[in-house]
């Protein structure tokens, strides 16, 4: 089996080789951008299916952990790796023929590098490095469109993101000072029994950094502007790739290191606030992309909310619900944002000129985000309502249902306009259309028969929940 470190290595290599490739042939960068995530996907799937249920340590530089930087590969990280790279393939394939500026491809590969690195790494400082790579390439990608809304969004993101990243680093330093190690598993081991107050502070700092990337309230203020202004494929990247890698890190670190009621409660409140504020904001929007952006933020909040409920009910179903929601959202939002290419510029919710294909794609994506029966999102919603009820907090349960109604309202408002608009037949990018169809079929097929997603998800979650094994193996170093 291929060593996963190749994922990181190759991404880095090709990112630097891009200008050269660009000189060789116009189209070469685009192909490279397609091949790399596809390769990563292959490696990840291969490992997922063939690997034993024991985490694997990949050493770098010949140093054994906890001294060297190492990668920690278990099914949970592989699951996210698959998700992130699948989205990568989606983006690369859809825009394969269009983007010829090699600078975009560099940024894209670096972004993917950051995401994959975050997911694979077992070292805390390493995670910061990859987080920064992810963030900086995102800043550039967000601002890649040379128009005022995009640039404005990028600047805001840059400012908030930088501050957040600094605090993340501060947290890392504190943990290093307290535990003397940078290996995540080792830190978890050392902090298992006694956490001093300063550790909590470190955790808070790290959370601030992570909240920016995962678009949680009140640090997600940059997100609506970026979603509205950036190119559609960048919006796809933000909703389905960047935030998903960041939320992986959030889940992993919280569960491994900061497994404490205080943190879960904080995540619960932050997630709830994010969800409520974002969904109501979406209701007030006139611009379609901004509305979708708020919807993304809301879904992230809901995922974090579900995750945090583990702290209350200690039932793995909480993680199941959160991760299922993340998968559904990644795919459905990718569908929705990429589909915006088929609609007019600056589309508002009173959209008038549409084409039937894009209306259908929008409808399927929207129905899945809403959790309509016979889409993948339905199962996610059922799981979330299930764990909410386990908490016996009826008020929270009905509040979430109320917000679901709000969500349904603003999505159906657009769907109604879409299917009553005048029809305009635009030339469709065939590769984009193909990718959209594949994703929509996946959503509906999994809606009917979600066994496939469920079984993979269960495998991933078993790995996550097996904290003891993870710690002993990775910290011990094989």
């Amino acid at each position: 089996m291929v060593n996963p470190i190749l994922i990181i290595a190759l991404l880095l290599l090709f990112a630097f080789l891009m200008p050269l490739l660009g000189l060789l042939h116009r189209r070469l960068p685009a192909f490279a951008t397609l091949i790399l995530p596809a390769f990563n996907l292959y490696v990840a799937v291969n490992h997922f299916l063939k690997m034993d249920f024991i985490p694997v340590v990949i050493k770098t530089g010949g140093f054994r952990p906890p001294f060297g930087i190492n990668l920690a590969v278990d099914h949970f990280s592989l699951f996210f790796l698959i998700l992130v790279n699948a989205i990568g393939v989606f983006i690369a394939l859809s825009y394969l023929l269009e983007e010829q500026d090699y600078r975009f491809h560099i940024l894209f590969l670096l972004n993917l590098l950051g995401a994959s690195g975050i997911i694979l790494t077992g070292d805390l400082f390493n995670s910061f490095v990859f987080l920064e790579i992810l963030a900086i390439s995102s800043y550039a990608l967000a601002g890649s469109r040379k128009e005022k809304p995009a640039l404005e969004g990028a600047i805001k993101y840059l400012i908030i993101g930088s501050i957040g990243a600094s605090f993340y680093l501060l947290g890392v330093f504190i943990l290093y000072k307290v535990t003397g190690t940078l290996n995540i598993a080792d830190i978890a081991l050392k902090l298992q029994n006694a956490k001093s107050g300063i550790v909590y502070l470190a955790g808070m700092f790290m959370l601030v950094g992570l909240f920016v990337e995962t678009e949680l309230f009140p640090l997600n203020t940059w997100a609506p502007d970026v979603y509205q202004g950036a190119y559609n494929r960048i919006a796809v990247q933000f909703s389905s790739l960047i935030s998903k890698a960041a939320i992986y890190l959030l889940f992993r670190i919280t569960f491994l290191i900061f497994d404490d009621p205080l943190f879960y409660k904080l995540l619960l409140v932050v997630g709830l606030l994010t969800f409520v504020v974002a969904e109501f904001n979406a209701l007030a929007q006139k611009d379609l992309k901004r509305m979708l952006g708020y919807s993304s933020i809301g879904q992230m909040g809901l995922a974090v909310l579900a995750f945090a409920l583990y702290g209350m009910i200690s039932h793995p179903e909480a993680f199941f619900a959160a991760t299922l929601l993340i998968v559904n959202h990644a795919i459905a939002k990718a569908l929705l944002f990429a589909n915006m290419d088929n609609m007019s510029e600056n589309a508002t919710i009173d959209i008038r000129s549409v084409n039937p294909f894009s209306s259908l794609m929008f409808a399927i994506g929207a129905l899945s985000v809403m959790g309509f029966p016979f889409t993948l999102g339905f199962w996610a919603k059922i799981e979330i309502l299930g764990i909410l009820l386990r908490t016996n907090l009826l008020f929270l349960f009905f509040l979430i249902i109320l917000i679901f109604m709000v969500e349904a309202f603003y999505y159906f408002r657009v769907i109604t306009n879409l299917f009553r608009g005048e029809t305009v037949c635009r030339r469709l990018n065939p590769l984009l259309a193909f990718s959209l169809v594949v994703f929509s079929i996946f959503l509906v097929y999994q809606g009917f028969y979600p066994i496939f997603t469920f079984s993979w998800l269960n495998r991933a979650l078993n790995a996550l929940l097996n904290k003891a094994i993870y710690i002993s193996i990775i910290a011990g170093g094989l």
Binding site: K156, I163, T221, L266, F280, T416
Partner: protein, 602 residues
């Protein structure tokens, strides 16, 4: 296995018709006919009681089962569907329309065959989605607003249902139709209300009815036949299942819940009737009439005595029949005239006699006059309410039934009686599809009106296990503790007296045909164009009688609720000021909050 296939066959037929419609008019007609024939053949041959499980995932499995109740309602839906397809042959619609039509039917059938609450939810949602799609292809009115209103009302109801489903699961450990043990009455009532809400929306109970008049008005006319006569029965089915299987004990023991629901039904019946006769549009009038008649059904179901429940179900069958024929004939008229405005019609009895007979029998049934199908349900309902001792409720229901006379007459007079307008001189009878459907509808109006026992027998089959009551009917008569009626006698009496009256008429002098204009005009000279048709503000004088009552509007209330939500969203929107300095401040404040949180541990 076979029962699901009915629905799957319908969906397949939908796609067939889609492609057929895409190609050629003949193929369109052919595929519709194939759809009708296929559905009927399949239904006759293969519908048998059977259970089936589809997907299994942990505690949940998508399961279907064809019980007696399911079969009863399924037959109503199948009949409504096939009969509504007959007029559809004459309408030109986009290919997608036929697809959604068959889809709506398929999912409605699946909903009725569902064997647990979640399966029911899933298929119910898809039925609503299919109907939403059909409404988007509507023909008149503000289509966007109508379709959006419909889907939002349906979804809100469905979300409450979902909440109720989970709570029920929490207390009973399963999502089947069984009851819940060991919970307080209040909790049970709360769960019932949550679960029943989407069905109340579906049968347009007030105050959740606002989607109905617009939706019926907008939708294509043949679809409205299926919509009113068939699809509303999905809502009735849901309520019947909930009341008979899950909450039977609650209804039997609680004093207040049956009363409240029955009164809601009664008020719906009354207000529906009033809005009906104040309407100036044929389809809106029929929409309100449908709402009103379903109100009687709700009274019967809600009161939960063996007689009232049977009466409610019987009346829903009657509703299917007479609303079916009413919508069919009106659809035929609209097809020929191109308008549905009652003020512009008149005198069509000369041109469309078969439609007239259809409409006439329809309104006689809607008014509940024996020996039509509208009578037994109402008769039994009155007896049931009186036996329960609810004198004010029975007065309300009686009051509501008087409004039926008013709107019935308005409908028949404005369309068929009176003066024929000049532009309608060349109107022909409705096309064959409409006429055939009308005639087929007329058969059960009389047959089941005279022999209601046939239907009561089926109803008895599934109500006896719950109520354990004795048989109260024979083939053609009904008997309760306080009253008795033998329907054929009423029919024969009427027929005999009519014959006698007719003989009197014949033996006395002869009559000559006077022209329309040869009329009493108090000495004024008039010509052909004299406006002698009374159609504007037909019951306009009643506005003064009702006064403020007509200003009550549930729609204004729900719009108000929506405005509150939107206002709140405007508030939250302002958090995102657009100024990055504010955003940085948010970060700072958040950090300070976090530090405080941790403060205790330091």
């Amino acid at each position: 296995m076979y029962n699901i296939n009915l629905a799957l066959l319908a969906i397949l037929a939908g796609f067939l018709t889609f492609f057929g419609a895409l190609s050629h008019r003949v193929l369109r007609v052919a595929s519709i006919v194939i759809g009708i024939v296929g559905t009927l053949v399949f239904a006759f041959l293969y519908l048998k009681p059977d259970t089936m499980e589809f997907i299994r995932m942990g505690v949940f499995a998508m399961s279907f089962n064809l019980t007696d109740i399911s079969r009863f309602f399924l037959w109503i839906i199948i009949s409504a569907f096939t009969l509504s397809l007959l007029p559809l042959i004459h309408e030109e619609r986009s290919p997608f329309f036929y697809l959604y039509y068959f889809l709506a039917f398929g999912f409605a059938s699946l909903t009725i065959m569902a064997n647990d609450l979640l399966t029911l939810y899933m298929n119910f949602e898809l039925t609503s989605l299919a109907i939403f799609a059909i409404l988007l292809l509507g023909v008149r009115g503000d289509i966007k607003k109508t379709a959006l209103k419909y889907i939002i009302y349906s979804l809100v109801g469905a979300y409450f249902y979902l909440g109720g489903l989970f709570i029920k699961f929490k207390y009973s450990g399963n999502i089947g139709f069984g009851g819940i043990q060991n919970v307080s009455t209040l909790t049970q009532i709360a769960i019932y209300t949550l679960l029943a809400l989407p069905f109340f929306v579906k049968i347009a109970t007030m105050p959740f009815h606002n989607w109905a008049p617009d939706a019926y008005y907008s939708a294509s006319d043949s679809f409205t036949i299926f919509f009113s006569a068939g699809l509303s029965k999905v809502g009735v089915y849901g309520l019947v299942i909930l009341m008979l299987k899950t909450f039977a004990e609650l209804f039997k023991s609680n004093l207040y819940l049956p009363e409240i629901i029955a009164w809601v039904g009664g008020i719906t019946a009354l207000l529906g009737g009033i809005y009906a006769f104040m309407s100036d549009d044929a389809k809106k009038l029929l929409a309100y009439s449908s709402i009103s008649q379903l109100g009687y059904v709700l009274v019967g179901l809600g009161l939960f005595t063996p007689y009232s429940f049977s009466a409610g179900i019987f009346h829903s069958v009657a509703h299917f029949v007479f609303e079916g024929v009413l919508f069919t004939t009106v659809a035929g008229v609209i097809h020929r005239l191109g308008t549905s405005d009652l003020r512009r019609m008149g005198g069509l009895i000369k041109k469309m006699p078969i439609s007239f007979i259809g409409l006439l029998l329809g309104i006689i049934a809607a008014s509940g006059i024996p020996p039509t199908i509208g009578f037994p349900g109402k008769w039994l309902l009155y007896e049931a309410i009186i036996m329960k001792g609810d004198l004010f409720l029975v007065s309300l229901v009686f009051f509501a039934s008087i409004t039926a006379f008013l709107y019935s007459y308005k409908l028949v007079h404005s369309i068929f009686l009176g003066k024929l307008h000049k532009e309608h001189r060349d109107v022909k009878e409705a096309p064959a599809g409409y006429v055939v459907a009308t005639i087929i509808f007329l058969i059960p109006i009389i047959v089941f009106g005279v022999f209601p026992g046939v239907i009561f027998e089926k109803i008895y089959g599934f109500t006896k296990p719950v109520f354990n009551h004795d048989v109260f009917f024979t083939f053609n008569s009904l008997k309760t503790q306080i009253g008795f009626v033998k329907i054929p006698v009423a029919g024969i009496a009427l027929a005999a007296m009519f014959a006698f009256s007719f003989i009197l008429y014949l033996i006395a002098g002869r009559s000559y045909r006077a022209k329309q204009e040869d009329n009493y005009t108090a000495g004024e000279w008039v010509d052909e164009d004299f406006a002698s048709h009374y159609a504007q503000e037909f019951y306009g004088f009643m506005r003064k009688a009702f006064g403020k009552l007509l200003d009550l509007s549930a729609e204004k209330f729900w719009n108000g609720v929506l405005t509150i939500f939107k206002a709140f969203s405007e508030l939250t929107r302002r958090i995102y000021t657009g100024d990055v300095r504010d955003y940085a401040l948010y970060l700072l404040f958040f950090l300070i909050v976090l530090v405080f949180l941790v403060g205790g541990k330091l």
